[in-house]
């Protein structure tokens, strides 16, 4: 079972209390952007076996969106952090590096 600690209300929220929101840290490309950027924003998603960054919503709880880093293979959770950020905080990256040396995800590593 997947359990995240909600960074807003601090509860250990299990997966059934949450709603998955897809990949994290996407940059929106709207009107005026190139077709290539727009297509990548709409359709191109990571589907890694291993380290992944996602958005989740604590829907049956405080209702807030947050980010989480986890391993898609073992369901190990590396940490959750607030949604008001465009990149993962260093403490999360450090945890991942210590547990999965040599990991990469998009341009992060």
């Amino acid at each position: 079972m997947l359990t995240f600690q909600c960074p807003y209300c601090g509860v250990q929220a299990d997966e059934t209390e949450l709603h998955a929101g897809g990949e994290a840290h996407l940059t929106r490309h709207g009107p005026g952007s190139s077709d290539k950027d727009f297509e990548a924003y709409l359709f191109m998603r990571q589907n890694p076996k291993g380290v992944h960054f996602e958005r989740w919503r604590h829907v049956n709880g405080c209702g807030k969106w947050f980010h989480a880093a986890r391993c898609t293979m073992t369901l190990e959770v590396f940490g959750a952090y607030p949604a008001q950020t465009t990149e993962p905080p260093k403490r999360i990256l450090d945890v991942i590096t210590s547990k999965r040396p040599g990991w990469t995800w998009r341009e992060l590593s």
Partner: protein, 190 residues
């Protein structure tokens, strides 16, 4: 003013715990910056209770302040006083980015009483109801089976559960089934 109508007309059930529909309860949804002093003063003055901390439930009789999320409180007042309390809060927060609404009839409340309380609750929600994980005075918003719900423990044998009015019947039947005398667990007791 028309008479308040409880969603289930005051339904009750006696089993492992005593399930009773509570209310009518005045409830005011308040969204805003909870760290703001004016907001804190308005809330504490209205209820006569201190501001709750994260996941806190400050309740005394029919008055209370529930911490719902980092920017939301549910203020409990006696049902008849809700419209006046709403106006008072709205006036105190004028000019601020805040939302105050009387939502007294939006939710249903249930009071559970009995020694098997933690076992009954633990059957329905993905929450650790052990004494040290869920002490009295802590509010937990979660789900009970398939519907969103909130619960706080008044003391070790009394809990208050609330859910949306539209699922009040579902919630009552759920609580009754979990409190069925033939469904004794005895895990949290003692």
């Amino acid at each position: 003013m028309s008479d308040p109508v409880l969603p289930l007309g005051g339904a009750q059930y006696e089993g492992l715990v005593d399930v009773r529909e509570a209310g009518p309860q005045g409830m005011i949804a308040l969204r805003g910056d909870l760290a703001d002093e004016r907001l804190q003063e308005a809330v504490t003055q209205l209820t006569g209770l201190p501001m709750p901390g994260v996941r806190g439930a400050q309740v005394m009789g029919e008055s209370g302040v529930l911490w719902m999320s980092p920017d939301e409180l549910l203020v409990l007042v006696p049902y008849r006083q809700a419209p006046r309390a709403r106006a008072q809060l709205a006036e105190a927060l004028q000019g601020q980015h805040a939302l105050v609404e009387n939502v007294s009839d939006m939710r249903a409340m249930f009071r559970l009483r009995g020694t098997q309380l933690r076992d009954v609750l633990a059957k329905l929600a993905p929450v650790d109801f052990a004494r040290d994980a869920m002490p009295a005075g802590e509010l937990r918003r979660t789900r009970f089976a398939q519907v969103a719900a909130g619960v706080w423990l008044v003391d070790d044998t009394t809990a208050q559960v609330f859910c949306f009015r539209s699922v009040a019947d579902y919630m009552f039947k759920l609580l009754c089934a979990a409190a069925d005398p033939d469904a004794f667990v005895g895990f949290h007791a003692g």
